[in-house]
Symmetry: D2
Subunit: 101 residues, 4 copies
């Protein structure tokens, strides 16, 4: 089962800046070899369900190891069985419609 | 790693009513033996990370098996290492503060 | 336009416990007179769109006034035009299906 | 109050493809004049709270006008009072840390 997720990890109890923890998550995502795109409020990742979810778990583990006592994560998960669709296809199909306007 | 999640599964391509699919997810959650509380916009579930995430995956599988070609799920995930906290503790700590007002 | 939301306000930079801020949000929600139900990972609120969104804004204002330098909120918003549906109807329709099992 | 949001509008009851509705939302966002970045699982938008939230409402109105009987939206909202921060700053601060690795 292929999944496209949008992952937003929020460490609590580490102060107002969370960029060190987010960078650590990015390194885990990169290390996984999965396709990903970072944006201003999360990161899109895609691949086989178990591999993608292993990265989400690894992010929690790493951020706790860095000293964050608490984490709250928001995740969106999309799966479909009617056809193969990648992250870039989703953006392209909307942009095509906008271009035809 | 103990996790408290809030799970909201949304099947697409099955029409405007999604209660049959949500009920099927509830049966998977019940069958898992994990603690859960349904509310009007999702279900809180808690337990060991891998067990909880296996239920989330099982929900996607079951809803696709029912015929939904596409699913988009929203998930919140909370973990903490500073202390043991259960779903009911979270509600109770806020209600205590409200009562002291 | 009637809306049912699920609101989860997360203050950053206030330490690991956020229950004082959540309690302050609950007081704003109560003061609004809107229907609501708190759960372990947020609060369901329903009513006219503008009134509900005014409460969400008020929560951000109050939590900043309490000293939180940063807030990240997760919100789900449901609207429908095919029929009138309340929070309790959503739960009841799933429970009816589960009972018929 | 400046806000950065991540908006993901999901129409129900319109079939499995939702790109026409998402394109209509993109046109509303463009028409607002606010800064935005589309990604594979939503759109980041930033600006004054009331202007940003007016666009979210307009998206629901437009998608219902197109015939969707039901919409479920997921929204993340970030505000901060300690400093002025834009969408591009958030990405840049993480990328700087990754580059220093």
């Amino acid at each position: 089962m292929h999944v496209i997720i949008d992952l937003c990890v929020v460490p609590l109890g580490v102060g107002v800046s969370v960029s060190a923890e987010i960078a650590a998550c990015q390194r885990e995502i990169q290390a996984s070899g999965l396709e990903y795109r970072m944006h201003a409020y999360g990161t899109n990742i895609e691949g086989p369900w178990d591999e993608v979810m292993a990265v989400v778990k690894r992010c929690h583990e790493v951020v706790h190891e860095m000293g964050a006592p608490r984490i709250t994560t928001t995740l969106k998960l999309g799966t479909r069985t009617d056809r193969d669709q990648r992250m870039d296809d989703k953006v392209a199909s909307v942009e095509t419609l906008l271009g035809e306007q």
